[in-house]
Symmetry: C2
Subunit: 132 residues, 2 copies
């Protein structure tokens, strides 16, 4: 389902839009960094944010990831949150800071925040290739 071309988008410096469901079932969407571990699509967020609350309440999510260098190429993913974990989340956000910002340490952390990784299993994947 995740072809090498899609994997390249997920591992590039591209922002994802992450759609989740509010308690009342209405949609919420916010931009986020993204990663892929060969099996799960990964989102790293601070605990207790709306993203986490929403996926704890309803595991159904959607993502769209346009290619930063060509917005007419994109992948959309509908999927299910299989796991939410603190394990390696601090290391992981620093890895993403390196990719997205070129920094060794994630610079936006507040002293009290706890990072978590949201692990998403892709269910439907659509790749819109750039017009050739």
């Amino acid at each position: 389902m995740i072809t090498p071309e899609i994997e390249k988008l997920l591992l590039g410096k591209n922002f994802a839009s992450f759609a989740t469901l509010m308690n009342d079932g209405s949609p919420h969407v916010a931009p986020t960094w993204i990663d892929y571990d060969g099996h799960y699509v990964l989102i790293n967020t601070a605990a207790d944010r709306i993203k986490e609350k929403n996926v704890r309440h309803d595991k159904r999510i959607a993502l769209s990831i346009p290619n930063e260098s060509n917005p007419y190429e994109m992948v959309t993913i509908r999927g299910i949150v299989d796991e939410i974990t603190e394990e390696n989340a601090d290391m992981h956000i620093d890895k993403l800071a390196k990719r997205y910002l070129g920094l060794d340490k994630y610079p936006f952390r507040s002293p009290t925040e706890k990072r978590i990784i949201i692990k998403i299993r892709p269910v439907k994947v659509f790749h819109q290739k750039p017009p050739s």
Copy 2:
């Protein structure tokens, strides 16, 4: 609710991520051009696409619009679709082609497609300003 700074984002060359609800209540998200008429946020799409089907079934939507020239500034909007209309939709997509592509006519139209405008009433608006 829509401050002049937010209006600037809505009228810029920025892509929106448009989240809607599938028939089963799960979220869907896709990138789209965007416009604002001083009252409604406007999305122009071809009739019968998934976006239209979803908003005809459930009027609750969400948008996120990052500033193309600074992805750490963005606005997120949760809203309600008040109207779906064909009126002026052909003229409107050409106007957006001018803004986003610099072309007088929208170049991607298929001969049979019918354009529609989805009019969104903002309900919750959040503006994340760029770190100063």
